[in-house]
Symmetry: C2
């Protein structure tokens, strides 16, 4: 037997054992009270604060390795922890604890003519695999949301954040212990071998109910390609702002500017602005000037090129590019239908906004655009669980199955039917 | 290029074209009114009645082929259509038309402190692949449910029912035409080549949002193994009736008998009866006698063997067997916890029932058993969308993602967030 085969076998054995333990923990979590789970979360937050020094030391190791490997400044920033970020992580876990219990909620109840009383009641999803990249705080955020909803989690972070994530995981385990919860409720894959991700995606359907990927396009793509388990995630956020002919100039400018430039690196940032031809001369110069002043490069179609001196020509590829940067593409369209068709063709089903004073036009856009989130007269940067008032989120789902839009604790549940009778048999 | 490669290419071309057309039809269905979709359904029902003779003739061809190929009597019965079955099919389509519109329902609505009004609104799932076996009526049932919820469907029935399904499909298309709906809203795979199923499962994720398999264990297994698209379905219905110590003898007997014997071939039929040791001597003889009188073979553990003369010993395999026949396995357990553990280990997460007069014991069982449907004092044979008052169903989902239990029109929807503002930008 070659060394590689042995390694594969050892990963399979490790991962299977995690799956079995996670399933067992999930069964006991399903019977736990919300108070017990909240107790574990609050204790974990305390542990994170109490062990901030150890977490920082572990993060120092990761940072040193990362610098040695020449990671980009952006990657290093994502990896870096400091006292403020650890405090934010602890506060985030406490905020999840403070949310209402998503389990045992009666979603619907009705009585049949034969007297059967039927309830649809929320229950945990089961076991959730979280595959993420360099941000170590995801370890705490994702595990907390899973635990809140009674799910066992199997965490697989990026190799570059392994030490940081391990230190954070120790705090979470201490929280579970304080509350008397099976430590297998939050497990971390104990190897940075990429084969473990493949095994989790392809061979653990028996134990893993759903996988949530968090990270860049290549990670999401790998997960979608290899997964034999259900996936909740989003591939890209190619978000659009559509400035309708009946949009006021100020609101059009303010919404477009905020949607693009408030933060350019988040999935809800706008990448393309569509402008009605009838309002192009009025809106495009105002919008382009505000964007340029904020440091944004403008790429545009021929009309835009004629109206904005600093614009560069947009290529076909621009319409389907998620820049995640201070670049925007602007295109002129002939009305709502063309805007909708553009979004259908180039969009990613994430978030789109129409700016207009015409309520009928807005309703049409909100109905016809098939994205997880559609907005009227508001920035696409509101695409966020916190901004929706749903509390923490594990991501924005662009798939159509199970959950769409922000995925918070409520979305990490399933349901079952509870039926109460008095001896009914079926004729 | 070999003949097989050419065939594969031709299937890929055909299937891709269906996928593209289905996506286009789905986009227009998403904008259709409920009245238009109901119009198409009612027209399709009329067409089914008007063309009953052609459907019967096509079914005659299928039956002739099936007899020539030596299909079993059960298979032949599933395949057979007659005037009554066609009328039932038409009435079923009309019943779906009569259901409320599952689309555009506001599932939740709230206002944020910044004035944004957020609604979660139901929308279609998109494109649904239905893979089924010999029952030709599934063609009408499944397509009707998909259409009701604004979904385009790609139907792939069993090769043995190809002529019947094609004739039924023609009636559905005529219904779509009457209502002015894109005929690609209901497409049938025009080949019986099994490679088309593989292609649908593995290579059409771009166009197919979810696959619903309807059929026996081997079909479902194939779908779960090969699918690179989300699947809603159930693998098996190994359903349990648990007779608690505080169960009255008459109700225990009546519920167990009905759960097992009303119809043995449906997924909600009970396969195993668990009996509390404290009540074994009182309950088992009464239950076993009623089952034996109804023609059911009883397999049991040692205690059962001592109480029921006609019983045969149950093997370990019996506890995980879905008989779908007049056979039952009976096991004695020491209380609720052991019953729950047995169900966890051997059950399929479909439907389980407890019979007891003890409300606290019932609540415990209903909470701790993690199945799609849990019942108290009622037969497992109520596991059915119609019996739940949900109208027609496409199956009972035992997965935990998206839908669980009966899958009707309401479960064939997704949702989107509609957000109305007045120029809000994110600070």
């Amino acid at each position: 037997m070659g060394a590689e085969t042995k390694l594969q076998d050892s990963i399979a054995t490790t991962m299977d054992a995690m799956g079995i333990a996670a399933r067992r923990a999930a069964a006991s979590l399903a019977r736990s009270t919300g108070a017990t789970r909240d107790h574990a979360l609050k204790a974990a937050a305390r542990q994170l604060r109490a062990h901030a020094d150890e977490i920082l030391a572990a993060n120092g190791e990761d940072m040193q390795d990362a610098r040695r490997r020449g990671l980009s400044a952006a990657m290093l920033d994502r990896l870096l922890l400091d006292a403020a970020r650890i405090e934010a992580m602890a506060a985030g876990v406490e905020a999840v604890a403070a949310l209402g219990d998503p389990l045992g909620r009666v979603l619907a109840e009705w009585t049949r003519p034969n007297g059967l009383v039927i309830q649809r009641v929320t229950v945990p999803l089961g076991v959730i695999g979280i595959i993420y990249e360099s941000r170590p705080n995801v370890t705490a955020d994702a595990a907390a949301l899973c635990l809140k909803a009674g799910n066992a989690s199997i965490l697989r972070g990026g190799s570059e954040s392994f030490h940081s994530s391990t230190a954070i995981h120790h705090c979470l385990l201490a929280g579970l212990e304080e509350a008397g919860i099976d430590p297998a409720a939050v497990q971390m894959v104990p190897t940075t071998d990429r084969a473990a991700v493949g095994y989790l995606l392809s061979s653990m359907a028996q134990w893993v109910d759903v996988v949530v990927p968090r990270g860049g396009k290549s990670l999401i793509k790998r997960v979608q390609d290899e997964a034999r388990v259900p996936v909740i995630g989003h591939l890209e956020g190619i978000c659009h702002v559509y400035l309708h002919a009946a949009a006021g100039t100020d609101m059009a400018r303010d919404v477009a500017l905020n949607a693009k430039m408030r933060r350019t690196g988040i999935c809800g940032a706008a990448e393309t602005i569509l402008v009605d031809r009838d309002a192009a001369e009025r809106l495009i110069p105002a919008v382009a000037q505000a964007l340029a002043e904020a440091g944004c490069e403008v790429r545009g179609d021929d009309t835009v090129m004629g109206l904005v001196a600093a614009a560069v020509p947009a290529s076909e590829a621009d319409w389907s590019t998620e820049y995640l940067d201070a670049i925007v593409s602007i295109r002129v369209v002939d009305g709502i239908d063309e805007a909708v068709r553009h979004i259908e063709r180039y969009g990613s089903g994430h978030t789109e906004s129409i700016v207009t004073d015409d309520a009928a036009a807005a309703d049409r856009f909100l109905r016809d655009v098939d994205s997880a989130i559609v907005l009227h007269n508001a920035s696409t940067q509101f695409a966020d669980g916190g901004e929706f008032g749903m509390g923490a989120e594990i991501g924005i789902a662009t798939g159509r199955i199970h959950a769409r839009g922000p995925v918070g604790a409520e979305q990490l549940t399933s349901y079952k039917y509870v039926v109460r009778g008095s001896g009914q048999v079926r004729p």
